[in-house]
Symmetry: C2
Subunit: 323 residues, 2 copies
């Protein structure tokens, strides 16, 4: 059982922005079993959590720092946190997650070398799930979302699709988009449905990424603001490399069926979130295009993570077997 202060550090971390180049980090400074300072990282360009907590505490000589992530040992826009903790005279550091980032790791050993006691206490948390995945795999975590009828149709025979799912499911999609760094759709979907791909009722918009070579008119609703990027490729790994370069850790893929199939065939979908309406169409656009699967031997299997009722619809969450 990890210390209560470490759980507090994880809670503080969540105050930071979800879709940011930097991970969410929280820090609690404790001396004589009393909290003398707290801090969290408010996003790229602002102080790291450890520095924020040291500033809040005023002085921290002999204190223990509880940090949700192994302190960085890396000079980026700010100096390394290891040095800040050493300079402040912190006696001990306890952290929840080892730093998976090869550029920033080495904090624990640097602290030890400087005579600071260091302990790793594992906490089972989804904090920085996407950042950790992206840093470890050198590409963003990919969620493919689709909405369909119970028989797997995402549009009727004439292409109409508004609305297969109800308002609660659509609001759920909006809320989940907010945690992604990018919303990805193919030119086909953008041309056919003219979606905004923005967040209604949420502050800030993720980058909207259009995949494919067809031209999108400047009047398309996806051009609601400048935060739009078209990547003229059919290769999902090219798309993910471009997003990784932009420090986007979570790509939210909204289709259509052709782009989804390209990612699925490439084995580049880590999570599937399906909103299924209690309805049938019997014909029309399939949720996913041909995957090149000829027989049951080739079936793509995932792990069932969650099943929930969302309004009048069902949300099913699957994850890749290695996620």
């Amino acid at each position: 059982m990890a210390s209560t202060y470490l759980y507090r550090a994880v809670e503080l971390a969540r105050r930071g922005p979800l879709a940011d180049p930097n991970p969410q980090v929280g820090c609690v400074l404790v001396r004589d079993d009393r909290v003398i300072g707290e801090g969290w990282h408010e996003g790229a360009g602002t102080p790291h959590a450890e520095v924020a907590a040291l500033q809040a505490a005023g002085g921290a000589r002999g204190a223990t720092a509880y940090v949700s992530l192994e302190p960085c040992h890396h000079t980026g826009r700010t100096g390394p946190c290891t040095q800040a903790l050493i300079d402040a005279g912190v006696a001990e550091v306890r952290y929840a997650q080892p730093d998976p980032n090869p550029d920033a790791a080495g904090g624990a050993s640097a602290l030890r070398t400087a005579g600071v006691r260091v302990e790793h206490e594992h906490i089972d948390t989804d904090l920085n799930r996407y950042w950790t995945y992206a840093v470890s795999h050198a590409r963003p975590f990919v969620t493919w979302k689709f909405a369909a009828t119970l028989d797997g149709r995402s549009a009727a025979a004439d292409g109409s699709s508004q609305w297969i799912t109800g308002p609660a499911a659509r609001a759920d999609v909006q809320a989940r988009r907010a945690s992604a760094g990018a919303i990805v759709a193919g030119t086909g979907t953008v041309l056919a449905d003219d979606p905004r791909l923005t967040l209604r009722g949420h502050a800030g918009n993720p980058l909207r990424v259009i995949v494919g070579k067809r031209s999108i008119p400047a009047t398309a609703r996806v051009h609601a603001d400048d935060n739009v990027l078209q990547i003229a490729t059919h290769d999902p790994s090219v798309v993910l490399a471009a997003l990784h370069d932009r420090q986007i850790w979570h790509a939210w893929l909204e289709g259509g069926p052709t782009v989804a199939a390209a990612f699925l065939r490439a084995g580049l979908v880590d999570e599937i979130v399906a909103y299924l309406a209690p309805a049938l169409l019997g014909a029309g656009r399939s949720a996913v295009a041909d995957l090149g699967i000829g027989s049951m031997a080739g079936i793509q299997r995932y792990e069932l993570r969650d099943v929930a009722r969302v309004g009048e619809d069902v949300r099913i969450t699957l994850s890749g077997k290695d996620v």
Copy 2:
């Protein structure tokens, strides 16, 4: 709040067979707040619940009879229960469900005419759900079951389909078949998949009904026993009329897509039970064939009744809006 004895009568009723021409009925005879006899109906050709309870009690003069269903006033294979209760000198009858069967109804008023006190106390129960539906609608209640991938494919491109869902889902289907009077499949499915359509690990087999005009070889596994009926029609209402004549109250429709589509187009599906595997095929046989729906305006909507995880799969139950 209905009396405890009436709940006991409902419980006793469930001891009878589920898929029987007669409804499940239970009866408790009470005198001076003491149970003097209990009975339930064990199926067509055996005594009705009231008669069984009277036999168990020996005498019932002045007693109150708690019956799950309004006593019948109809001479079938047995005499009317109303007369048996009157002859035994029962002073009062309290029943949970009015008899929806025009042939058997009128029990309450016949008892009152003979000087017996009669009360209807409603109990919210699914007891005799299918029998009540069939008697009221003059056709069996129809459940359509299908198994598919998350993208709505019930077979791969080459027709292979074993196994899309896992063992827990398949066992669940077996258990649910047992409550149906008939399992219905099209000639296409019988020829393509050669299914047994029997209950493994359950006593007794529902009637297996093959719908369509193509010949089924005598060596097909569906001919495992004689309890098989082929109805050479493509008209679902002809199928249901034939089942109704055979006193089958619940038809369990297992496909394939063409037969399912015929029932769905005719508005003759009351319940949909879908088993969805956490898997994708991207091509192959759709769960349901063309429903003649061209645009979203024609979408068939149902009510979401239940969502459950069954082993590694998801079971979604929908019902018709008027069920």
